[in-house]
Amino acid sequence: MTAILDFLAAIGRGVGLACRVAGQLAVFALSGLSHLLRPPFYGRMFLRSLVEIGYFSLPVVALTAVFTGMVLALQSYTGFARFSAEGAIASIVVLSVTRELGPVLAGLMVAGRVGAAMAAEIGTMRVTDQIDALTTLSTNPMKYLVAPRLLAGIVALPLLVLIADILGVMGGYIIGTFKLGFNGATYLRNTLDFVQTQDVVSGLAKAAVFGFLITLLGCFQGYNSRGGAQGVGAATTAAVVAASILILGFDYVLTEAFFAR
């Protein structure tokens, strides 16, 4: 009997904690966003984060996209060759990449790179009193540290995903023409015929949401980290894990919202 009660109590505590953290996260997010509307604005901090998230993530995101496109082409060929539906490959690659794999994979890669770095940087600032120092120097840390990063995430991820979309299609093209022996021009025509604006736009909208989630979790975990180097390490891990899970969860919700009829 007591074992069951203990078990239920443990579940209750877990749920309570999850709700509290979700509430704190929501308050943190709203506070961060509201600072984007009120001056002073820290353009430099925004540009710095934009370069950090957008430019320096390009290599990883580009490689991921090219290989994903190549694998997609190869895999769908094994499935479709039997039905001699080679034209379908171009459409499978472009739809998968723009709607789904571009934003999700780019989001996960950037979560690992940028989310971790942000949590570590802000966490270190927290445990070394730099965040308190900002406050004593007439600077609101939410405005100075968090708001510009959130905005940079929202702006940078769609740009990255746009590039990832193009490179993903190119990956499919490379495999299609050089390995599977399709006609290159036909492949590209098939691609352009199949893809619709909505596919690309929905992917970019997802990317903007993912960019927000990544930077939000990085900032939130860093901002609330405690207890020296170990605390910062824990915050870093938590930022990446939470951002990745949220990306996958929101991906489902957004797909449902965009395409469910």
Binding site: T124, T128, T136, L137, S138, T139
Partner: protein, 273 residues
């Protein structure tokens, strides 16, 4: 146990003459979880004087300063600056109060993503006291005031020695010419000579600005150099306060044990919690 009669009398005379304490703390309490850190602190700091707060590690000295700065919200009690309660201010007013307080953090808390000169001019730029073009020249000026060569301005804080970091942090704290200054363990981790140099700089800056100062230290020599008055924090209470010159012969057994650094006495080190 309490303050020297003569000084209490002096304080009373000042109070009669209408002198309001620069900082007045009453019944300040703060706990983290079930750990009580501050348990009813009463403290007055008169304008233009320096108070040093001594006390063991973890006795809540930094928490006390952070409460006054508004970085930590106390559970109970009141804090007044110039006679105005600062705990229940709206954000704008609180920022105005904060802008008048300069703080030297325990480990410097320099922004390691910015070069030294931007650290020094940070508060001035944030308060729009100078524009960007003048920032570098102004920073160089303050670096000179703390005895550093302006060429240091281009380095990153991580490239500096501990003593230099403390000086830069001091330059950053005094740059906005605050009328209240807090120093959290300014000499901890420095060699005795550098410690004395930093102490002199602090006394110098405080004098020049005519500020009211509160300094935290473990170091009795440093306490006597910086402070006019001293107070000892132990187990969440101010257990003694008096003139800093009386630290070595306070007559209080706990203060005596602390200043003489002996293991035996009324203070039992809590080696486990």
């Amino acid at each position: 146990m309490r303050a020297e009669p003569a000084l209490t009398a002096l304080q009373e005379r000042l109070a009669e003459a209408g002198a309001v304490p620069k900082i007045r703390i009453r019944g300040l309490k703060k706990r983290f979880g079930d750990k009580v850190v501050l348990d009813g602190i009463d403290l007055d700091v008169m304008p233009g004087t320096s108070l040093v707060v001594i006390g063991g590690s973890g006795s809540g000295k930094s928490v006390l300063l952070k409460c006054i700065l508004g970085l930590i919200t106390p559970d109970a009690g009141s804090i007044a600056i110039d006679g105005h309660d600062v705990l229940h201010l709206r954000r704008r007013e609180r920022e105005t109060v904060r802008a008048r307080i300069g703080m030297l953090f325990q480990n410097g808390a320099l922004f390691d993503s910015l070069p030294v000169w931007q650290n020094v001019s940070f508060g001035l730029l944030a308060q729009h006291k100078i524009d960007r073009k003048r920032a570098r020249a102004t920073a160089d000026d303050f670096l000179r005031q703390v005895g550093l060569d302006p060429s240091v301005g281009d380095l990153s804080p991580a490239e500096l020695s501990g003593g230099m970091q403390k000086r830069v942090a001091l330059a950053r704290a005094i740059a906005a010419q605050p009328d209240i200054m807090f120093f959290d363990e300014p000499t901890t981790g420095l060699d005795p000579i550098m410690g004395a140099v930093i102490d002199d700089l602090i006394v110098d800056c405080v004098k020049r600005l005519g500020s009211t100062a509160v300094a935290i230290t473990h170091d009795i020599a440093s306490a006597r150099r910086i402070g006019d008055r001293a107070a000892m924090l132990h187990k969440g209470h101010i257990i003694w306060d008096g003139p800093a010159s009386a630290l070595m012969n306070s007559g209080n057994p706990m203060v005596d044990q602390f200043t003489h650094g002996s293991r035996n006495g009324p203070i039992q080190m809590e080696l486990r919690r």
